[in-house]
Symmetry: C2
Subunit: 454 residues, 2 copies
């Protein structure tokens, strides 16, 4: 099992056929999201760095060929045309952290057809998953309106790998920390943690538990106060903190019940005890909707911990994304059936301050004062610049967010800014469609933007 | 980064404190789902085999201690009490494939408190994710009513690891195959695959594409017919199949549009061409709801491919599961605050034919003709029997399903069978609650089921 065999079988059967037919001309595939999920005013592009790692390392080894043969119940020699195949194409992509909208290519691959096809499944997996989680996490940051948000999702993500990504994607959009130790250390994210109800229950009482915790942890501590009676728990925490002269950096955590009311009462108890600097952390089933409600209600909560719903992007756990062939051997191509029409040709997205994006053909001139979103990130199968840190992506995210209309940023019923299409792209789409319609049977268009050498 | 550091930080801070206080007495933790997600009449227990692999290998190594210290910004020596800690406890669990309901422990750990605490995050991650996906996949099998279902989810799962699990969990509940090559080969699941629209588009027409595919693949082939005009695509596929005398084992695939209407027209075209044995595969955003609608409408679809929505369990991507301390050092414990009251004590679930399950205390006598669901699967940190194959779990799933009431099996508005609680469990819960209420401050109950030696 390798990243190469972590693929849909059909990529292999198609690649085999392309090789047999000697169809190695350059193909351009465009990866884009057809429609934003309900409740999303924007998406945060993510997953590119993992995708590039995959492409840079892609090479079909002997074991992979044996696995392919095994899956297809065919002799290994039938699969040998694939042996040694690596990815030596070009990739243009939207850098991580940039905001993107429906129909805008997140990534375009230009490579000999078999290569470009074989990498489809893995690229979709990475970009879909990571963009979905980053976009949900970004909304939590917006809802928290400047208050720190931390990631507590590891226990509910779809496996440990998804947990690592959730921590990274949270950091990318501005989270202040993660509970995930491995992710924190590997990625340079502050680690965050308190105590569980089980900890309190293992002691003969809350006071004993809090005192024992403070003995083991000389630095700032956070006491979980809602194991039995929450208000009483806050009083006990306040007493212990005051007694130990541990105020600054310390906190109490509320994990259940009416978080707004409990936070108000907790704040009053802490303030009365002279512990104005002790912060209140809230957790328990929160996502952007819960955080937004608490922030708008003016709940005196200082830190929001989000887990389950954010780590799995519970209300929108997938994207309607596609990896579509848009040009082969110099010919623009498109799919026509049903509602899923795809626009042909190599594309660029131009971002304009204060106006919708324009999806255009790649070779079009830059509209005045517009920025192209897709950058060349790989040539000849090698990255054109070094692997980017999530901090770089965070900077881009914050830049883009500053320009995003309020209607797209809002938590409830956000309205994405639909991109426009350039006149040249509309013309090419109409022309390819007319060519397909004019053919006697179904087939590839006759119109060409290049040389048809097959 | 290791499985040991793939944990919430608080497990580490708690464990450190337990060790400092010499709290190494046996703790019992119970992992259960508080409530079934909406739209679920049952859950399929899954994730146990991965969880046991994790526990059997658990050992805090020097690098783990260093990572813990790094995350906590403390000197490595402060974390050294954790060095070498492994899991040598007992695990009782519901085997994979069994149906479970709200409140029923999926797994109970009995181990010295620090060990039992440290493994919490990973156990929850595995059991939640896998149970969620298995339960969704099981409903697809029910909806398909005997027709084969195959897994096409890899491009949308939350990472490649989740894709591997989705393939396994599909097989566990009866799927006929997966598109995931790595999963198919590693797990002995039939691999399934056809061709993408891009394949058709790369040729000058559908007929050329189908013929080329057949040249590369001498065995049964499946032609994707909806790239341009679906009905015309079916006619072309029929012509090529008839011409090549390739009927048996072959299929056409519909991936968009009105699948019911298109399947009827496709069936008519194929039958008219003398290709009654050519099957129709449907895909495209299907889950149990889509499959159920098509099956009920009598659509002539032979194979259902489900992907996106099933691989991420789109309508219920997480479980409200908890890993709760229910006994420490012989004392039953429970959490009281808000609505999240947990029942104390070591438990057993008894399954009775034709009647609801009974959640009881572990030491209670078996009600007549009832079967205990939790089995001892690990003792002294070692499995009590070998790792089970997904085929064993499939057998259990099918057994349990045969006894499940129709109201819990149905696709729309299913009604789970709520378990009962034994009188002894109710008595213990009331007694622990009364003890907590009677205490001057919040604290652990005085009532004991064993020796309190701390």
């Amino acid at each position: 099992m390798s990243d190469v065999t972590t693929t849909d079988l059909y990529e292999v059967t198609m690649a085999l056929s392309y090789l047999r037919e000697d169809m190695r001309a350059p193909a351009i595939f465009s990866l884009f999201v057809r429609d934003l999920p309900p409740g999303r005013g924007f998406l945060v592009a993510a997953g590119l760095e993992s995708a590039l790692d995959f492409l840079a390392d892609y090479r079909v080894e002997r074991e992979d060929v044996e696995e392919f043969a095994d899956a297809l119940h065919r002799p290994v020699q039938d699969l040998e045309p694939l042996l040694g195949l690596s990815f030596d194409g070009e990739v243009r992509a939207v850098p991580e952290g940039r905001l993107v909208f429906a129909g805008e290519p997140l990534l375009e691959v230009t490579a000999p057809l078999p290569q470009a096809q074989l990498v489809e499944t893995y690229l979709l997996n990475q970009l879909c998953h990571q963009t979905v989680v980053a976009s949900k996490a970004a909304r939590c940051v917006l809802a928290a309106a400047g208050r720190p948000v931390v990631d507590f999702s590891l226990r509910r993500t779809h496996g440990p790998w998804a947990g690592l990504q959730a921590a990274r994607l949270g950091a990318l959009v501005g989270f202040a920390g993660t509970s995930n130790v491995a992710a924190a250390v590997a990625l340079g994210i502050p680690a965050s943690g308190t105590m569980a109800h089980s900890y309190i229950e293992a002691f003969s009482g809350e006071e004993e538990a809090f005192r024992a915790f403070a003995r083991a942890h000389p630095g700032p501590v956070t006491f979980l106060v809602d194991t039995y009676d929450t208000e009483e728990g806050v009083r006990i925490a306040a007493r212990v903190l005051a007694d130990l002269r541990r105020g600054p950096g310390c906190a109490i955590r509320l994990d259940s019940g009416d978080l707004e009311a409990l936070a108000r009462r907790a704040r009053a108890v802490l303030d009365a005890a002279g512990l104005a600097e002790v912060r209140i952390v809230a957790s328990g089933g929160l996502d952007e909707y819960g955080v937004d409600r608490l922030v708008r209600a003016g709940a005196p909560i200082d830190v929001y911990a989000v887990g389950t719903r954010v780590g799995v992007a519970a209300d929108a756990p997938f994207l309607d994304a596609a990896y579509k062939l848009v040009e082969y051997d110099g010919h623009p191509v498109m799919k026509l059936s049903s509602a899923k029409v795809t626009a042909p040709g190599r594309k660029q997205v131009f971002r304009r301050a204060g106006r919708p994006d324009v999806i255009a053909l790649a070779e079009e001139d830059l509209p005045e004062s517009a920025r192209p979103l897709l950058r060349t990130v790989m040539r000849g199968g090698r990255r054109t610049c070094s692997r980017k840190h999530w901090r770089d992506a965070r900077r881009r995210f914050q830049e883009d967010l500053a320009d995003l209309p309020v209607s797209a940023r809002r938590i409830h019923d956000p309205e994405p800014v639909p991109p426009e299409r350039s006149a040249a792209l509309e013309r090419l789409t109409a022309s390819v469609r007319a060519d397909i319609d004019a053919r006697p049977g179904s087939g590839r268009p006759v119109a060409s933007t290049g040389t048809h050498a097959r």
